[in-house]
């Protein structure tokens, strides 16, 4: 462990001295560090002709202090909480030896309330270059990691300034930003300067939205105004049991509404991934979260100027998926698991589901088809028959818009009996929330492929990336039923008060409970054997990669929020 930490420290030293990316990328721990350090300093010595030694000593002293963070006692405390330090997290998230830290010398500027004597302790927000893929293509990212061991990670003006700086850099280069959040909130001692800092970050979050992917990983408390930065980013991930997101903590809640609630219940990972829908995924612990984040990152393009990434693929694009022939049960009332269809079709069963525990009646997530990243949207018949309700519409809409913003093709699997009826839904505004999903699909200009596996009823049929909303390729399985509603309901309306309902129902089923009515009108392009679905999607994506579609000029659209 000792040797290990020395190695890490010397690496920090090198990085701090701004060695070029390339050479630091190939560096191997402490062994090579010493000679390089000397040459750098030798070069520096020309700049500081006199007294450079004392400056050098000061530099080193500052670095040591910076690397020590809040000190061993606080680091131990952090570990005891089951959390890693800011630097350890960066080490795990990024490729070995691949990051370059910036602003190590920045200090906070507050001298009130006894903050002065702590002045040497600064928050560490290392700017990081992450060349996980390949430096030739400049596949890099910017990352900040809040250090809870320094003033509880509270946000000072200087702290905010560092975050803003790397966000500006990221925008200039066109590379994603990952934030590892672990902060007690605003630095109260700094007052309005801290608030201004938040606002500066918010503004950058908004400006970067849709330009570069932004990901927040909440790894500790994140309360008050601070929560709005993750909320503005594209994806918010949390760590189970050790991370919290809330506007006001349990104490304030108690004093205002007299509710007794724990931190975990109020804003823990479980709450936000299953009840509120604020967070997109929860991971077991820091290590699990960071390793999964690496995997997640491989799905994303660097910016809206880049195409969806294509990774080397070992799964044959023309693989027939025989198991799909029997997946849809014969009884249309019986459920099945849409995830099984998705996993069987995508490359290597690798599906990164977004919000797996929230609004489970719709499934969204990333996968690859013949190596190319795609966004998958599917109704989930297993939960609430796969109907669309407020939460699932909003979940789906936000995902579709992310894909569209970042050139990721969308594949939609449809088995939807309609929108969920009832006062709860109507009072909650299902009309305007459902409209979001409709809006998102209609607006999207990326390649859109739709497969109707079974039911596509009513307005929900239109919404789910139908031909009418510029679906590029729309397929139906032989089990598909495209109709205004189920046979029983339809017959009750058409033949209200008549006796021969059973007969009429049979006729309706014969006429509409199959893919033909849609196919003869060209609303679906073909009725396909389920086993050929993967093959067809892959070949269509190949062609659609050339698709160019532009919406009419507008300042921005007015999505029904």
């Amino acid at each position: 462990m000792a040797a290990f930490s020395v190695a890490r420290r010397s690496r920090g030293l090198i990085n701090g001295l701004k060695v070029s990316f390339r050479s630091s990328g190939q560096l191997k721990h402490g062994a090579v560090a010493a000679p390089l350090l000397q040459t750098s300093l030798h070069r520096d010595s020309r700049w500081y002709s006199a007294g450079h030694l004392s400056v050098k000593e000061r530099i080193e002293a500052k670095r040591r202090a910076a690397l020590a963070g809040g000190g061993q006692a606080r680091i131990d405390a952090q570990h005891k909480r089951g959390k890693l330090t800011a630097r350890e997290r960066i080490d795990l998230l990024l490729d070995t030896d691949s990051f370059v830290e910036t602003d190590m010398f920045v200090e906070h500027r507050c001298s009130d309330f006894g903050m002065e004597q702590d002045k040497n302790k600064v928050t560490h927000l290392p700017e990081v270059i992450f060349y996980f893929f390949n430096i030739i293509f400049c596949l890099c990212l910017f990352c900040f990691s809040q250090d809870f061991t320094v003033f509880g990670g509270s946000l000072s003006g200087a702290h905010a300034q560092k975050i803003c700086k790397i966000m500006d850099q990221a925008m200039k280069v066109g590379a994603p930003v990952i934030g590892l959040n672990d902060s007690g909130g605003a630095r109260i001692q700094e007052g309005v300067e801290s608030l201004a800092g938040y606002a500066d970050i918010f503004l950058r979050n908004v400006m970067a939205s849709g330009v570069i992917p932004q990901i927040s990983l909440i790894m500790g408390p994140c309360a008050g105004g601070a929560v709005y930065s993750p909320a503005l980013t594209d994806f918010t991930f949390m760590v189970k049991d050790t991370s919290y997101l809330f506007i006001t903590g349990p104490d304030v809640v108690k004093s205002v509404t007299n509710e007794d609630v724990t931190q975990e219940e109020l804003g823990g990972a479980k709450t936000h991934t299953s009840v509120s829908g604020v967070a997109h995924h929860a991971f077991e612990n820091d290590v699990d979260a960071l390793l999964n984040l690496r995997e997640f990152f491989t799905f994303l393009p660097l910016s809206n100027q880049d195409p969806a990434p294509i990774r080397e693929c070992h799964d044959p694009s023309d693989r027939l998926v025989r198991s799909l022939e029997t997946i849809v049960p014969l009884e249309s009332t019986k459920a099945y698991d849409m995830l099984e269809i998705i996993k069987a079709i995508v490359d290597e069963k690798d599906f990164f589901e977004i919000m797996p525990n929230y609004a489970k009646n719709i499934v969204v997530g990333f996968a690859r088809m013949n190596g190319r990243t795609v966004g998958i949207v599917g109704n989930q018949p297993k939960v609430a028959s796969g109907c669309l309700d407020i939460n699932s519409s909003v979940k789906g809409a936000r995902f579709v818009r992310f894909c569209d913003a970042f050139n990721i093709p969308i594949i939609t699997f449809v088995d939807v009996p309609g929108f969920l009826p009832g006062t709860a839904q109507e009072y909650g505004g299902i009309i305007r929330h459902g409209a979001k999903l409709l809006f998102a699909f209609a607006e999207a200009t990326v390649p859109k492929i739709t497969i109707i596996t079974r039911k596509a009823y009513g307005g929900a049929y239109d919404v789910m990336s139908s031909k009418h909303l510029r679906g590029d390729v729309n397929y139906a399985w032989p089990t598909a039923e495209v109709a205004v509603m189920g046979a029983k309901g339809a017959v009750q309306i058409i033949f209200r008060g008549k006796d021969n309902q059973a007969e009429a129902e049979a006729e309706y089923v014969e006429k509409f409970a199959n893919p033909f009515p849609a196919a003869v009108r060209g609303f679906v392009d073909d009725i396909i054997e389920p086993s050929t679905t993967r093959k067809l999607i892959c070949s269509n994506l190949e062609v659609l990669a050339r698709k160019k579609q532009v919406n009419p000029w507008k300042k921005h659209a007015n999505i029904p929020l």
Binding site: F4, L139, D286, H314, R322, S323, E340, K343
Partner: protein
């Protein structure tokens, strides 16, 4: 003269025509039926259909509603739905099956095994409608179907029978008295029951009472006949059976033996033919007695006479199965006969084509029964699910591997039917060859979506005791007294596994770089940590091309392969030895199948592994106060109610799954806090049944 010539020519033509007619007649005479209905499902239905196709016979499948897209339905020329999922509503539903016969005009019915195969009423009803039952006549089914009567007949036919007492038992106390008379241990089972199902062994009075209760319940629910049989239990026996084949003209053959000693809970797991244990004299004696019995009941069709054989090669008649056995393929392998074809011929009334001296023992055949069950729970508790991925060892099929299955990728294994996935049969000139092929075939068998017993099968066929032929029906409990724990990897193999996991991790990581650019900068030196079970091993990997040199656990391992990350099979060359691994990957933990083991080595960078030590341990649920269903099934009895105090080992409830009743007991003395299910309810695996305080 020309007239004579013409006459001769005519004669010649006439002769040729006559010969042709005779030939045609011979051909015609080997014709059997136009259409056969198969009153079964799964692998055996498919098996019968295959032979029918070969013989040019049209086939009719029957199926329950949940089976409507099953393989046997797809294979048959016609299919008729005979009811809903429960077997009593469909595959045992004689009315519906009779209707199906009438509608389709089938001339004969092959019943397979199980279901209606030994049901005399069914055979009678068929006879009444002039439909041929492909099996023995009703009187033979009747005579052999009853355990007690069959023994009397066997005795009369001079067949060795088990010492002990035969009788109908009415009460628990009567059962105890009979057991005491015979002397413990005794075996209790339903008279009408087939195979080992419902068979219980009692070593004392208490167990006799319990066995009586269970067996009579099971007899009642499964057969509608609560009669029981109690007899002397032979310790350390082998289960060896003789295949017989008889026609309707008084001819009968014995087609050698099958060794079926490897059993769990009296159900066969691995069978082979011939047996390593029998010498030619014993084989002949057993064969002749089997034929005597067949003749005594005027048996026709294929049948099996089961014997228990003790260590001194004394053999005792156990029972006769008047149907095609599950394990018939191994007999087909060594004799070259198609038993289904023979059954169909015999049913049509043909004489046997062979004489006893024509029946060879060619080579060796082994059968492994692949079940959807968890071998780590009492050698196999049923598991259900959908076969999300399924690949039979096709690549080996050319080298004497036969897979009899009735499922395919995407099929459901449901709680309604037997959880058998397939019968994997390998054949070789010698036993060693057949065993080596079996090992290969098991390693190449891909089954995902349900838990399966391949790990157990692989352990059995590679166990020194099995290889040496030192087996008995107690093999499993003797070899694994504390239950099956999976293959125990010795240091060398563990090193191989760790090295493979590390090499796979590096391959996956490097592949993630292969985005857009075809030639990324590859890191060739990796310091990793592989977590396997409780152990954590530091690993150093040096990669050059497709070859990985892995330093691990005090040794160096060279791993190379094609590294197809999409395939479930990962053939690797490890230190020059070819090994087949199975892969089920997610991000950094891989499920690696190695020696039949489902291992989950988790590979991390050395740094990540170090930091992992700071991560809090998630507290697992205290399971001693919670009773969860170990398998999916139906609750048939709930013996406690909230507030009751249960003693350790006391029965709490009984779950029935796949026709088997399983008693769940309390692991500690406690008060019952709540009961979460009621009798008749269907429960899934892991569902909460009862909470204790």
């Amino acid at each position: 003269p020309p007239n004579i010539m013409v006459g001769e020519t005519l004669n010649l033509v006439k002769n040729v025509l006559v010969k042709l007619m005779i030939n045609l007649l011979i051909c015609f005479s080997s014709q059997t039926f136009d259409k056969i209905l198969i009153a079964n499902r799964g692998e055996i239905a498919c098996r019968v259909i295959k032979t029918c196709k070969k013989m040019g016979i049209q086939t009719v499948a029957v199926h329950s509603d949940v089976d409507s897209s099953a393989v046997h339905v797809k294979m048959a020329d016609e299919a008729v739905c005979v009811g809903s999922a429960p077997t009593s509503k469909s595959y045992l539903n004689m009315d519906a099956i009779m209707d199906a016969i009438r509608v389709t005009g089938a001339q004969a019915v092959h019943p397979g095994y199980g279901f209606l195969s030994e049901n005399k009423d069914f055979a009678k009803r068929l006879a009444a409608e002039g439909v041929t039952f492909i099996g023995p006549d009703t009187h033979a089914i009747l005579a052999m179907g009853d355990k007690i009567e069959s023994k009397l007949i066997a005795k009369a036919a001079k067949v060795n029978t088990i010492p002990g007492f035969d009788g109908v038992v009415k009460t628990a106390e009567e059962a105890v008295k009979i057991a005491q008379d015979i002397g413990y241990p005794v075996m209790i089972k339903a008279s009408a029951g087939g195979g080992g199902k419902g068979m219980r062994i009692a070593w004392n009075d208490e167990e006799t009472r319990e066995g009586f209760r269970f067996s009579s319940q099971e007899a009642e629910s499964s057969f509608g006949d609560d009669r029981l049989l109690i007899e002397k239990y032979i310790d350390n026996p082998r289960h060896i059976e003789i295949q017989v084949l008889a026609d309707k003209h008084g001819n009968a053959l014995w087609l050698n033996e099958r060794e079926c000693s490897i059993q769990r809970r009296n159900q066969k797991v691995v069978e082979e033919a011939p047996s390593t244990f029998l010498d030619q004299d014993t084989r002949q004696a057993m064969g002749e007695q089997a034929v005597q019995l067949a003749k005594a009941v005027q048996y026709s069709s294929a049948g099996t006479v089961e014997f228990l054989v003790d260590s001194k090669k004394n053999f005792y008649f156990l029972e006769m199965n008047t149907r095609l056995q599950v394990e018939h393929p191994i007999t087909e392998c060594i004799t070259g006969l198609d038993l289904v074809e023979q059954m169909i011929r015999v049913a049509k009334g043909y004489r046997l084509q062979h004489k006893q001296e024509d029946i060879p023992i060619n080579g060796w055949a082994i059968e492994s029964r692949i079940y959807a069950e968890d071998p780590y729970k009492s050698f196999g508790l049923p598991s259900i699910g959908r076969l999300s991925e399924y690949q039979e060892p096709l690549n080996l099929k050319n080298v004497s591997v036969r897979v009899d299955s009735g499922i395919e990728e995407g099929s459901d294994i449901s709680i309604y039917y037997d959880p058998m996935i397939s019968k994997l049969v390998t054949y070789g000139a010698t036993r060693g060859e057949a065993l080596a092929r079996m090992e290969d075939a098991l390693d190449n068998y891909v089954i995902r979506g349900v838990t399966h017993n391949i790990s157990l099968l692989r352990e059995i066929i590679t166990h020194p005791r099995f290889i040496s032929g030192d087996i008995s029906t107690n093999f499993l409990p003797e070899v694994y007294p504390d239950g099956f724990k999976g293959h125990q990897l010795e240091a060398g193999k563990r090193r191989e596994l760790l090295a493979s996991a590390a090499a796979l991790y590096v391959t996956v990581q490097l592949r993630s770089q292969k985005v857009l650019s075809p030639t990324p900068v590859e890191r060739s030196h990796w310091e990793l940590c592989v977590q396997l079970g409780e152990g954590c091993y530091a690993v150093e990997v040096v990669k050059s091309g497709n070859v990985y040199n892995v330093e691990v656990d005090g040794g160096t391992v060279e791993v190379s392969g094609q590294w197809n990350l999409a395939s479930p099979l990962l053939p690797l060359s490890i230190n020059g030895t070819q090994r087949m691994l199975q892969v089920n990957a997610n991000t950094y933990t891989h499920n690696l199948g190695f020696f039949g083991l489902g291992t989950t080595p988790s590979t991390l960078l050395f740094l990540a592994a170090q930091l992992n030590s700071y991560m809090p341990e998630k507290v697992p649920e205290d399971t001693s106060s919670i009773l969860r269903s170990p398998m999916p099934g139906t609750v048939v009895a709930m013996s406690v109610k909230p507030g009751d105090t249960v003693a350790e080992g006391q029965e709490i409830c009984v779950i029935e799954a796949m026709k088997m009743q399983n008693s769940l007991t309390a692991v500690k003395q406690a008060k019952v806090k709540s009961v979460q299910c009621k009798p008749g309810e269907t429960v899934g695996e892991g569902d909460l049944l009862v909470e204790l305080e």
